[in-house]
């Protein structure tokens, strides 16, 4: 299965009616016919319509979207998988949500910086038009403020990495919960600061929010060492980092060497397989029923690679459990999630072959 939008929340009665009508439309779904009238009426995947494209800086824009069904909310700092079609192909990316989770009109937004060599960012910043349809995937991410909210916070961002942090800061301000937050942001110059004017206003109004800007046009990018001088009590603060990978890696090492890594959260959009305490399992064998091959895993090799090692051509995408391109229907056996170590699987369940390894013998419809 290819990555698709999230399942829209609709009433039980409607679901039941659709299910009954299926005996008339099989093997298609009633939605396949309903869609002919309006693509937004489908209950299979959540879609949305772009209602506004708002420039934030010279090369960043906020895309405001009206989801086809009621928005179920998100935590400030989380990201959304969003799909668009470019030249007949659907592409997906993850972007931090920059909208208020409780937007009165149920609108959502993402804020995107133009990257000339990118695929989706130029679409959003240059070509997206009001009225265009987008596909809305799931809301995900652990990059959010834990409850109860910590008293002392530290935000470090760079470039468009400010977007999830902006969401958190705004939410804290709304809840009157900005008690002792420090924010250090790096960007090219004063004009290049996405949400800069609002955050500066906030700094002037709120005593609990300190903002420090670093302009890389005239100055060096912030280094881990400088943190000691700028925020002497950084070790005691719950810290959030969002920016380019080099910055994240440097800071992470600093926290691991001198601080408390437990108090650090990063937005990297890339889960690391086998990272956070995921134990390898016993492994096992996989039979791919459609391709007619058998593969083997020592417990660390995901099902997808078992098949590829055995010479099968299998669908794959991100290879890190995000995009669902590689999923196959489990016919028999159990699998271990390589990210969490959890063993799961029931016949008929669709599993992501790129992040699951067989636990014993597994049969899969691929």
């Amino acid at each position: 299965m290819v990555e698709q939008g999230a399942t829209p929340r609709v009433s039980k009665a409607r679901r039941r009616a659709l299910k009954m009508a299926k005996s008339l439309t099989t093997p298609l779904l009633p939605d396949d016919y309903i869609e002919l009238m309006n693509p937004m009426w489908t209950t299979r995947e959540l879609r949305g319509e772009i209602v506004e494209v708002r420039p934030e800086t010279e090369d960043a824009s906020t895309i405001v979207i009206r989801p086809a069904t009621r928005w179920l909310g998100h935590w400030p700092g989380q990201y959304l998988r969003i799909g668009v079609e470019i030249n007949g192909r659907r592409h997906w990316r993850a972007y931090s949500l920059t909208s208020d989770p409780n937007h009165p009109d149920g609108l959502i937004s993402i804020t995107i910086k133009h990257v000339a060599e990118g695929k989706l960012s130029p679409y959003f910043t240059r070509h997206a038009e009001v009225g265009s349809m987008v596909y809305l995937g799931g809301v995900e991410g652990e990059f959010r403020i834990p409850y109860p909210r910590p008293e002392k916070l530290l935000f470090i961002s760079a470039g468009s990495g400010v977007t999830p942090i902006w969401s958190m800061v705004r939410n804290l301000a709304q809840d009157d919960a900005l008690r002792d937050a420090k924010h250090i942001h790096s960007c090219r110059d004063a004009d290049d600061f996405i949400f800069g004017s609002t955050l500066r206003d906030l700094r002037d109004q709120e005593r609990g929010y300190e903002l420090e800007e670093r302009h890389t046009k005239t100055d060096e990018r912030i280094t881990p060492k400088e943190i000691d001088e700028m925020v002497p009590d950084w070790r005691d603060r719950q810290a959030f980092l969002s920016g380019p990978p080099e910055m994240l890696e440097g800071m992470k090492e600093h926290w691991e060497a001198e601080g408390d890594p437990e108090l650090l959260r990063l937005e990297r959009f890339q889960p690391v397989i086998g990272g956070d305490g995921a134990g390898g399992g016993e492994g096992g064998t996989v039979r791919f029923r459609v391709t007619d091959v058998e593969g083997e895993s020592d417990g660390s090799i995901p099902i997808l690679e078992c098949g590829e090692n055995a010479g099968a051509k299998l669908p794959f995408g991100c290879r890190m459990g995000i995009c669902h391109t590689c999923v196959g229907k489990l016919a028999e056996g159990q699998v271990r999630d390589l990210r969490t170590g959890e063993v799961h699987g029931e016949p008929g369940e669709t599993i992501r072959t790129c992040v699951n390894a067989p636990e014993g013998h597994v049969e899969i419809e691929l």
């Binding site: 299965m1 290819v2 990555e3 698709q4 005996s23 008339l24 439309t25 099989t26 093997p27 298609l28 396949d32 016919y33 002919l36 299979r44 995947e45 079609e85 030249n87 007949g88 192909r89 659907r90 592409h91 039979r287 029923r289 459609v290 391709t291 007619d292 669908p315 999923v327 016919a331 028999e332 049969e363 419809e365």
Partner: protein, 408 residues
Amino acid sequence: MSTATVETTDGQTMENPLNRLTDEEIEAIGEEFQALHDEIFDDLGERDATYIRSIIQFHRRLAALSRIVLMASEYKPAWVLGTTGLSAAKIIENMEIGHNVMHGQWDWMNDPYIHSSSWDWDTASPASAWKHSHNYVHHTFTNVVGKDKDVGYEIMRVDPSQKWYPHYLAQPFYNILLMAFFEWGVAVHDLDFDAIKTGKKPKSQVMDELKSIGRKGRRQIVKDYIAFPLLSGRKGFKSTLAANFTANIVRNVWSNAIIFCGHFPDQVYVFTAEEGEDDRKGAWYVRQLIGAANIEGGSFFHFMSGNLSYQVEHHLYPDLPSSRYQELAPRVKEICEKYGLPYNTGPFSKQWGMVQRTIIRLAFPGGKVRPKAPAYKAPASQNGSSNGHAGNGKVEGEQAEKILASFP
């Protein structure tokens, strides 16, 4: 087909292409066919996406409309109109849409609902089993006797190199049954009786497949023979049931005819297991080329046959969108002419006639290898380019748009 020479339809003899071609030629052929594939694949985009979406929309509108008309099926004109519409809808869905989507021809779009992993078609055969027996077995081991179960579908003798058994005497009769109930034949064919007998397929998988055929079959039967007839009311029940039954038979006979014409006309070569093992890319392409046959016709005919009338192009490029086969044809012919290869084609009546003749003749023991097509030569008047097609693929590429334009 280990014979060094074969008889051709123009009364000459020709060396069997697989024996005649040198290693260098095989390699060059492989490269040329691959380059053609890559050229078209790189060009796929908006135009193609619009084509398949429009056809899908057209099918759904036609199917819905026909079903609505059939609610009044007790009236003759409504019955005729509805049955015609529904037959056409089923044919389009199975052939131009279902078969091709399940081949992965539209997977590049990354659309979760027009994708080989999610599509299921309006026929008795469940998608997953068909993808194994057809996409994998048939398209990999095309016409390799003993390996490709589509050579006679394990129940018919369609090539003299298949061993004769007395039950083949009945094949002219069950061939007619198969035409009428083709969808059920396809459904059961996927089970692969050979693999079950030899124990190659685990019992649990056989059970799962049987269950899935049962589930799919039940849904199809409930829809066509219970649910929609009920919607027509007490008076219309029987006539709608008859209409749906007729539409299924029409679709079965038509798809059976097109599919049999793809591999069983006289010009088509079959291969020994040894020939089938030649895994050079060029050899694979040659086997696909001479192991299939086209049917000539206009663009409406090609559309209604799901472009399987371009069986040669389909076998060379099963993963390229069917709407591109028409523009590929002249380019394929150029390669055929360059390397002295045949390009199997003929009018529908001739191809179909040959298939039926073969089925009747080979019901009895013996039988000879039939004459093959000579090496392809472009008609002289066309000055190098081929058969009424301009050599430029772009011109043919507009075919899809022409078909689209003819829809309401």
